[in-house]
Symmetry: C2
Subunit: 338 residues, 2 copies
């Protein structure tokens, strides 16, 4: 089958490798309907995070179940399923608390930018749709696999409540879907921080009421000015750099929460700063599994259309261009068709 292998910085290749096999009785093999390139893949693609050896890449997926292991009870061949980047048993105390991405048996799912993939802990990890969905829903269901679930977690972690003012730091796919999530959770004023016209436009389609193009101290000053000097009720930090976290800490009102979902890279904060800001913080790898049933339901009932974040669609074997386009910010997010 065709699969995507990352060799090292900017060296990503579409290659033919062996089909995946059931390795453990709790595994499933799925045939991808679509997959995509994640902003977090770029940390490796750019060499900011090491890729020690050629690695099958990709962790966003939806598709049809081909085969299941002997201990899989609920997931069946022929079903259309969506899962997320951490496989989870969905029964341990952390899963029961809604933190499936901290499952005591969690496993990183890899190799999704391919025709077929193996998903561990299939019963806990995968959520099946009631029936095989119309093809028009595929991009949105694929978005639920990571970027929508992650943006949603940012909004939940930031404790977004109806009527609130929410600031969103980051205009990548996660930030844009953080805007959508905040709107769904009832925020009435959503300030998207973006300096890119096409992303500003999409943010507005997703529910942003205001745009702040300034960054750093100027960005903080704008948010403060828009909130009577107090700060936003909730902030979604969807980047993971020191600058973006400073933006978030500067923008939150005392007692408000920052939901941070960009994998932090070099973010060291002196806790005197968060202490005197009364800045609440909750983040981490999104427990997408917690939200998948509701998100699938919203998508299939046409309440949300998160698939709009895909502004480039390519055949799977052109994956290298998909990475390059996102790296150069020519595309927000690349969908790949096997």
């Amino acid at each position: 089958m065709r699969a995507t292998i990352l060799y090292g910085p900017t060296d990503v290749r579409s290659e033919t490798i062996d089909d995946p096999q059931i390795e453990r009785p709790t595994d499933a093999i799925i045939r991808l309907s679509a997959t995509c390139v994640c902003g977090s893949d770029l940390w490796n693609y750019r060499g900011i995070q090491d890729t020690p050896q050629p690695t099958p890449f990709g962790h966003e997926y939806c598709g049809i179940v081909e085969e299941v292991g002997s201990e899989v009870r609920n997931i069946k061949p022929g079903q259309f399923v969506i899962g997320s980047f951490f496989a989870s048993d969905n029964t341990c105390p952390n899963c029961e608390a809604g933190y499936q991405s901290s499952c005591v048996h969690r496993e990183l799912v890899r190799g999704a930018q391919a025709e077929l993939m193996r998903v561990p802990l299939a019963d806990g990890t995968l959520v099946a749709t009631p029936e095989v969905p119309d093809a028009k829903y595929i991009p949105s269901l694929l978005a639920a696999s990571d970027v929508l679930g992650t943006g949603w977690f940012a909004a939940v972690a930031a404790n977004v409540q109806p009527g609130q003012t929410v600031a969103v730091v980051g205009d990548g796919a996660v930030g844009l879907l953080g805007v959508l999530s905040a709107a769904q959770l009832g925020a009435t004023r959503i300030i998207a921080m973006s300096r890119h016209e096409s992303r500003q436009k999409l943010a507005q389609e997703f529910g942003a009421t205001d745009i702040v193009a300034e960054r750093g101290d100027d960005g903080v000053a704008s948010i403060k000015e828009m909130t009577g000097g107090i700060g936003a009720d909730a902030v979604l930090e969807c980047v993971g750099t020191s600058d973006s976290m400073q933006q978030a800490i500067g923008s939150i009102r005392p007692g408000g929460f920052i939901g941070y979902v960009g994998v932090p890279h070099g973010v060291n904060v002196d806790f005197q700063q968060t202490f005197f800001a009364h800045a609440g913080l909750l983040g981490g790898p999104a427990p997408v599994r917690r939200f998948l049933p509701d998100l699938i339901d919203l998508i299939l009932h046409d309440k949300i259309d998160p698939g709009k974040v895909f502004d480039l669609e390519l055949p799977l074997d052109q994956v290298a261009e998909g990475y390059a386009a996102m790296d150069e910010r020519r595309a927000i997010k690349t969908l790949l068709r096997p």
Copy 2:
């Protein structure tokens, strides 16, 4: 009047200075019934935090109103009042959100280790008891001024819920009263981290069900072992050092909150750590004003006896010994009688 002046590291003196005066029409002057030495005073006393010039010290107080400014409406001479270390108007958006210690007009209250003191923004800052209380309640009402209110905030910030398992890092007065607060909020298992027998005993009187004497990795391992490998539902971080924060982050379950109220000194955390731990964080200078009415009520109805944290009582002019005893950990907390 007698007052306490900090000159520099380990140099604290009881001196005669001019009586305080009403400076602004929103001020009140109160005659202290009792005052005390705070763990945070020791940061200066030890020279860890600079004291640029001789400074009137102390910020915990209760007593009888002597005089009020022309714009003070609710607080009246003769009332017994309690306030906290930040004066607040109690009407701004941050006060209304319950973060009076981030009041847009906040002012640090100083000079409480004295016979008389000036309290700014008296109407917003001070809470009067229904009548002048019996002398036996004075230590507990004084504790409400800071250490009880701060321990309570730690428990509220950590989102302690009935039935939960709570770990408390720090066995100073704030940590011990964090134990009491967690018990009042319904925690059923409260693990006090302490290696001092007298403090362990007081923690148990306040509601601790378990004691962990180990620190560092061993302390974390103990908490994990006691919680089935998952971690505590809530952690109260009541110290403010790098070690204590690491203890807290290591001990919290994914999705649980750390309420941190020890003023952080040199606490720099790589956010990858809190991210992958799913560790929630909320802290800051405690908005004691939010809790004062309820705390006073609990004290005057004999539901709680936080005054037990005072294990040394001295006349005001022996304040130097009060500091030394706490610095050398001979005393948990020193009460001073003017």
